[in-house]
């Protein structure tokens, strides 16, 4: 025999495992609950005639239970597939729940509306690429950090690098002498060049296009000699490029300096310029960031 009132009193007074009490209210965790609130009228256990809508993979089903089947828990819930169209689904609910209590009909339609909204939203979100939230167990993080420190210690990088490079120097792999980068000398040069700048026509260069020609035996020797005498060139450019690497304007300035130096030092400038001009120019879209270089620490990142 099915006594709803008794069931309700027993459940509510003593213990219901589906009940969840939060500061905002009392909720029901039962999956068949229409509203989600722990109420006598919304409790699926305490109502022998009840209906819900549940969602399986984006398809909505209308579940109904009647008192005639109360003794058969296996066949208790009758399932009807609802059409995707919202209006047709509403009609279907009306059809199946004719002569049912108004409150239940109303809350069911309310639930259908909410679920339809959710379905639309989930579909829209699925189209966007969003960042996946990756959980990472703490143990793994600690382990990796430990391993990295061990590896760093084992590598002994600084010494290895110094030894290797100084050995290379000794064995004489580097055919020419290293050139010096003294800042003051280049500042002087820089000041002188800027004056001459305006008179010299500039050569437009894109980033990374003008390069020393590698692997070409005839030109190698020339180039190395040039590099030797070009002690001013690289550091000065670096001085200019100190802040913003991504500026095309700066490259133009550098080009000017370069051309000027060529002429001043009276070296094999023509060859270099010729080479440079022959290079194909690829236009690169580079968006300028207004950021100057700054340490990550200062940004507290």
């Amino acid at each position: 025999m099915q006594h709803d009132e008794v069931i309700w009193q027993v459940i509510r007074r003593n213990h219901c495992s589906y009940m969840a009490k939060i500061e905002t209210g009392i909720f029901c965790r039962n999956q068949y609950n229409v509203t989600g609130i722990c109420n006598e009228s919304s409790c699926p256990l305490a109502n022998s005639r009840y209906a819900t809508i549940r969602d399986h993979d984006g398809v909505f089903y209308l579940y109904m239970k009647t008192i005639e089947r109360a003794h058969m828990p296996k066949n208790l819930w009758e399932r009807v597939k609802l059409p995707v169209n919202y209006e047709m689904a509403l009609e279907m609910i009306d059809k199946h729940l004719l002569y049912w209590p108004k409150l239940l009909q109303h809350s069911l339609k309310h639930r259908l509306t909410k679920m339809t909204h959710m379905r639309i939203r989930m579909r829209k979100l699925a189209l966007k690429t969003r960042e996946a939230v990756i959980p990472m167990p703490r143990r793994q993080i600690k382990r990796e950090a430990r391993r990295e420190i061990k590896a760093l210690n084992a590598a002994v990088l600084d010494k290895a690098i110094e030894n290797e490079l100084l050995e290379r120097l000794k064995t004489g792999i580097y055919p020419t002498d290293i050139y010096n980068f003294s800042q003051r000398a280049f500042d002087k040069l820089l000041n002188k060049e800027i004056v001459l700048n305006q008179e010299v026509e500039e050569e437009e260069e894109e980033e990374g296009v003008v390069e020393y020609v590698e692997g070409d035996d005839e030109l190698e020797a020339e180039e190395e000699e040039d590099m030797e005498d070009f002690s001013g060139l690289p550091s000065k450019e670096s001085y200019l490029e100190g802040d913003d690497h991504d500026s095309d304007d700066e490259d133009d300035d550098n080009a000017e300096e370069q051309v000027v130096i060529h002429k001043r030092r009276a070296l094999k400038k023509s060859d270099d310029n010729g080479k440079a001009k022959k290079k194909s120019r690829v236009v690169v879209e580079v968006e300028q960031d207004g950021d100057t270089r700054r340490s990550l620490k200062s940004l507290k990142l």
Partner: protein
């Protein structure tokens, strides 16, 4: 990033040092051309389109530092709606040979993906301990980007690591060794690849001393450590990644 789900048969888990398994299935002809000097590599560095949850500025900052690490590279800011395959199409049109993506994931760790636009191989690294140039004490001035660094790969002994070394080498143009170039140093140690960049400089001694000039090695360039996490294949049309290998973090040394 879109990840296609691969069947377990295709997905290989690295548990042993097996070179063929890690880098098989990719066409290495083009990369060899870069290594031999025929093709000049060009790298496009960019970050993920959507801002990261925790540290949104970090990804682009790392990308900008990397521009100074890899020669012949440029940084491109990415719009929110741009898709990967569009970026790849643009890059291919302008003859870029590699694409690097930087990102800081929701955990706060940095990731780096190197995609070779020649054969679609992509290596996913996690970047540990990224120290930008500004934070390094006594840092040397960065040289002009037209002076290409010399590449030095150390301790890449195992077969699998040779493939990884190739991916990194494909980003640097081949240069003749001559003094004064900065040296880009990649050292492999226990599954980690450490990067340092140094160059020679003169130290002007004080006037009292006899030897006027001393050669010193000075650090320039950022520092970071890489750890290979996965090998994927990128399809150029759809821009989706297909996970080929996941590198299990076991004690044995594979990469």
């Amino acid at each position: 990033m879109d990840l296609m789900i691969t069947s377990s048969a295709e997905m290989k888990k690295i548990t042993s040092l097996d070179d063929d398994k890690l880098w098989a299935g990719f066409d290495w002809e083009e990369t060899d051309k870069i290594l031999s000097g025929e093709i000049k590599p060009r790298t496009l560095i960019t970050s993920y389109p959507f801002p990261a949850i925790r540290y949104p500025q970090r990804g682009p900052l790392i990308a900008q530092e990397l521009v100074s690490v890899f020669p012949n590279s440029c940084y491109m800011r990415r719009g929110i709606r741009s898709k990967l395959h569009e970026v790849i199409a643009k890059a291919k049109k302008k003859h870029f040979t590699s694409l690097i993506l930087t990102h800081t994931n929701s955990r706060g760790h940095d990731e780096l993906i190197i995609i070779s636009l020649l054969n679609g191989a992509s290596a996913v690294f996690s970047v540990i301990d990224f120290i930008p140039r500004a934070d390094i004490p006594n840092c040397a001035n960065p040289l002009s980007r037209r002076i290409y660094p010399e590449l030095h790969m150390k301790s890449f002994d195992s077969q699998a690591s040779v493939g990884t070394a190739r991916m990194i080498q494909a980003l640097f143009p081949k240069v003749t060794s001559s003094g004064g170039r900065p040296v880009a140093w990649f050292q492999k140690q226990n599954n980690h690849i450490f990067f340092r960049s140094h160059r020679f400089c003169y130290e002007e001694a004080l006037s009292g001393e006899s030897s006027s000039v001393r050669r010193q090695v000075q650090e320039c360039g950022p520092r970071f450590a890489l750890k290979l996490k996965a090998v994927e294949r990128v399809s150029f049309e759809t821009g989706k990644f297909k996970l080929l290998c996941v590198v299990n973090h076991c004690k044995t040394d594979f990469v």
